[in-house]
């Protein structure tokens, strides 16, 4: 009943535009550009690791233990004489892969659970209590328990990191479904006899895409961090694989004499996660101003 707002300033809110025009507007966001650029560079380094590396990353060279960064070993060597630079290059592969895999699993599983919970009242209560329970268990501890019980392995680590992320995605999707369901255009679709599956597909699902992309990005960042932490604590990727977390775990004892073993891979983790986070913030600002960052991406 309120009088219409006065449309003075052309409110070109991205959220009101059709998807194509929003996608084009993305490239004007500095966060998106920075994030994509850094990630592309890291991705190229990871792909080219075999060519760019100076030494075999798992080659033990007892005579070259704990060398400081120099012209020969650019980022120094660890306590077994392995070349930190080469190991960090290969570590990028593990981190990017895990980040991507976890985000995909969490988004797909969360989407399904969220859609079901948002549409079937009966299952909603049960599913959401289970989600509450999973969320109550601190991520790292749940992952630690799973890895301890099933033995170290990339797949185990991915699943162990992904499961605690699922409830956040599910809750997000559910809230989108619940709010979009009340939109007059969805009621209008019900009114013109559109069947429920088609309403889901046509009118509701498209509204989840933008928040899911954003949430998926944050999940990816969280996963890269979690992997580093798990490996660092000795409950992650098998130690023979040079992941960033593993490289740092092996630098622990010698930190006071050889800090580079931890600091360089640490910098890589921070830069990668930063790029993903900044990309996520940019995407959120452009695509979905409704999600307030913070509740998501808990380490």
């Amino acid at each position: 009943m309120s009088a219409p707002a006065e449309p003075f300033i052309a409110h070109e809110m991205a959220a009101d535009l059709p998807d194509v025009r929003r996608a084009r507007a993305l490239w004007r966001n500095p966060g998106v550009v920075f994030g994509v650029a850094v990630l592309l560079i890291i991705l190229l380094l990871a792909i080219g690791a075999a060519y760019l590396a100076n030494v075999d990353p798992i080659l033990l060279r007892p005579r070259f233990r704990l060398r400081a960064p120099s012209a020969i070993a650019w980022l120094g060597t660890d306590q077994f004489g392995r070349d930190v630079y080469s190991r960090v290059l290969f570590g990028a592969r593990v981190s990017l892969f895990i980040g991507f895999a976890v985000a995909t699993i969490a988004v797909v599983a969360g989407l399904i659970i969220g859609l079901v919970a948002g549409y079937l009242r009966l299952l909603d209560a049960i599913l959401m209590r289970v989600m509450d329970g999973v969320m109550a268990i601190p991520n790292i501890l749940l992952a630690i328990a799973m890895v301890t019980l099933s033995g170290a392995g990339i797949l185990t680590v991915i699943v162990a990191i992904a499961i605690p992320e699922i409830p956040r995605v599910a809750r997000l999707v559910r809230s989108v479904v619940l709010s979009v369901r009340e939109e007059p255009y969805v009621e209008a679709a019900i009114g013109v006899g559109t069947p429920v599956p088609l309403i889901m597909w046509r009118h509701i699902l498209p509204n989840t895409i933008a928040p899911l992309i954003v949430q998926g990005t944050y999940t990816c960042a969280a996963a890269i961090l979690t992997e580093a932490i798990l490996s660092f604590l000795g409950a992650g990727i098998p130690t023979e694989i040079p992941s960033w977390g593993n490289i740092m775990a092996e630098g622990r004892q010698s930190f006071q004499i050889a800090p580079w073993v931890i600091l360089f891979p640490g910098f890589c983790v921070a830069l990668t996660v930063l790029a993903v986070n900044v990309l996520g913030d940019g995407l959120r600002d452009m695509l979905d101003p409704r999600i307030a960052r913070g509740m998501d991406n808990l380490q």
């Binding site: 219409p4 052309a10 009114g191 013109v192 069947p195 429920v196 046509r202 009118h203």
Partner: protein
């Protein structure tokens, strides 16, 4: 009248940011408000009336800048005042009442605290005599019951009218020279609106303040204004005494606006084919909303309480009521968007109130609904064509035929058929509402439900959409259920009217009878409260005799 004006605006221009569709929000505006005078600025959306109000308060959004002119309040130009001085003036020499009393009060502070704050910030150093008494006096003077008790209440515990009274009390706190009221009754029910307007007139008599009253409603202007300023696209198109402007408008835009205002006069009865059985009936329809949840006592609301109506083919039934009366619930039950809790809905004799969604399918297309909010009733990601053809395609019309018909329908509602490929954001509110009507018509319905379908539109647009509905009704032999809070709009279109109060129908009959001889006391109250322009029946170009005004 030689007194200095409370407000004197001279040649005010406010620039819009470069990206906007026009250069100025307000252009070369001059107006005066004298003490104890009520001046109304009338205009539709985009006219610049609210921006004018905010500029006087020094509360313009950052993107807007006053570039020319002066706003003089009590001998001081607020445009050049420092931030600190502005703060001293606000709430002290100039006070403001906003449109939405629910959101304009801080939800986490008590009412007394908020009124007291208005006093606190402008108290002369130390000299504060009995502030609490002053708060209670203020609340008393705006007609709030039991001030003692109310000071400790929070805004959500008050009714809409009471909240607006609290706002008025805050505005009066420091006896300002000027009170700006920005659409202060627009969000209120008619009966509440009438009481608030009465209160403002009382304030005009008992206080020295001048009042600048912003509104889109000429009915309200007729009720309250001493002088009128009509604005359009940021410019004043006409100003003068309320008598001059309402009786004898000079500007064509003013004339058009006045034409568009629906009067509470019922239209002459149409000749309807006296139909056999009614096409749509409800029998003792009930809807109860509740949160009966385990371990929690079910607090339930009876939104519909034994509602029985019948509508004949071709008839337009107006369902009129204030907020919370259950009128929209009734619409949504009949459209079967929600399930009724009891009673029957019959369409051509067939019970549809208890059918499952699957069994409803054949009936869906016969009852269509148009919603209030034109900005949310079309999916922003789908083209107009996709939205209009969605229904027919669901019922097996082939794609080509559905699109051809969609084009024809768009043409019929006054939008060029080429627009089918465009997205909703490219259309104005009125156009979107036309598109929503076309979508409903594409289903070839027997019954069209318009749920406050014109309430969000400007008067001139509203009049056009009402004209359209009237035309289509004849062309398609539509039966219309017209849900509205506005008696004047109902009078414009409806053959029969049902008045709802607290989920019940208190009166139901031919429009003519309801408007001329209302039986129920509530209907009488509603009619009395509806802002009327009757006193100002205009001198029409044909020169019929104007009735004498009573101001």
């Amino acid at each position: 009248m030689s007194e200095a004006p409370a407000l004197d605006i001279q040649g005010l221009s406010i620039a819009l940011p470069r990206s906007a569709e026009r250069g100025f929000a307000v252009e070369n505006l001059s107006l005066q408000v004298r003490p104890q005078e009520i001046v109304c600025i009338v205009g539709e959306s985009g006219s610049g009336k609210s921006v004018t109000a905010l500029s006087i308060m020094g509360l313009l959004p950052r993107a807007l800048k006053a570039t020319h002119g002066a706003i003089d309040v009590g001998g001081e130009n607020v445009l050049t005042a420092s931030r600190a001085r502005l703060r001293e003036l606000r709430g002290n020499r100039i006070a403001m009442i906003f449109q939405e009393p629910m959101t304009a009060l801080n939800p986490v502070l008590s009412v007394g605290n908020q009124i007291d704050e208005a006093l606190q910030w402008h108290a002369a150093n130390g000299a504060r005599a009995a502030p609490r008494k002053r708060v209670l006096d203020l609340m008393e003077s705006v007609g709030l019951p039991d001030p003692e008790q109310l000071t400790r209440s929070y805004p959500h515990q008050l009714s809409g009218g009471q909240r607006q009274r609290v706002m008025i009390a805050m505005a009066l706190a420091n006896e300002p020279a000027l009170i700006i009221a920005d659409e202060p009754t627009t969000a209120l029910d008619v009966t509440t609106q009438a009481r608030i307007l009465r209160l403002l007139r009382k304030i005009q008599r008992t206080h020295r303040s001048g009042i600048l009253f912003i509104t889109h409603d000429f009915g309200v202007v007729a009720e309250i204004a001493d002088r009128v300023v009509v604005m359009r696209h940021g410019r004043v198109v006409e100003q003068g005494s309320v008598d001059e402007v309402l009786r004898n408008p000079q500007n064509t835009y003013t004339k058009m606006l006045l034409e568009a205002v629906p009067s509470a006069e019922p239209r002459p009865a149409r000749l309807l084919p006296k139909a056999e059985a009614p096409i749509l009936t409800t029998q003792d329809l009930q809807k109860t909303f509740g949160d009966a949840f385990f371990l929690r006592a079910g607090r339930t609301v009876r939104a519909l309480d034994d509602v029985s109506i019948d509508v004949h083919r071709g008839e337009t039934l107006g369902i009129v009521g204030e907020s919370g009366s259950g009128k929209s619930t009734l619409a949504r039950c009949i459209a079967r968007l929600i399930d009724p809790s009891g009673g029957e809905i019959r369409l051509d004799g067939e019970e549809i109130g208890n059918k499952t969604q699957a069994a409803l399918r054949p009936f869906r297309r016969r009852v269509q609904i148009v919603f209030q909010d034109p900005y949310r009733s079309l999916n922003p990601r789908r083209t107009i064509g996709q939205s209009i053809t969605e229904g027919p395609r669901n019922y097996g019309t082939d794609k080509g035929a559905a699109w051809t018909r969609a084009g024809a329908l768009l043409d019929l509602v006054g939008i060029e058929a080429r627009a089918l490929a465009r997205y909703p954001h490219e259309f104005s509110g009125g156009q979107r509402q036309r598109i929503a009507i076309a979508r409903a018509l594409a289903m070839e319905p027997d019954v069209l439900i318009a749920d406050e379908a014109v309430s969000a539109l400007d008067v001139s647009v509203q009049a056009q959409v009402l004209d359209l509905m009237e035309r289509l009704r004849g062309e398609f032999g539509l039966t219309i259920l017209f849900i509205t809070h506005d008696l004047r709009v109902a009078a414009r279109l409806c053959d029969t009217v049902a008045v709802m109060l607290n989920g019940r129908i208190v009166e139901h009959g031919p429009a003519e009878r309801i408007f001329r001889e209302p039986q129920h006391s509530y209907t009488q109250a509603l009619l009395a409260a509806a802002p009327k322009m009757r006193h100002f029946e205009r001198a029409t170009p044909r020169g019929s005799l104007p009735r004498i005004g009573t101001v």
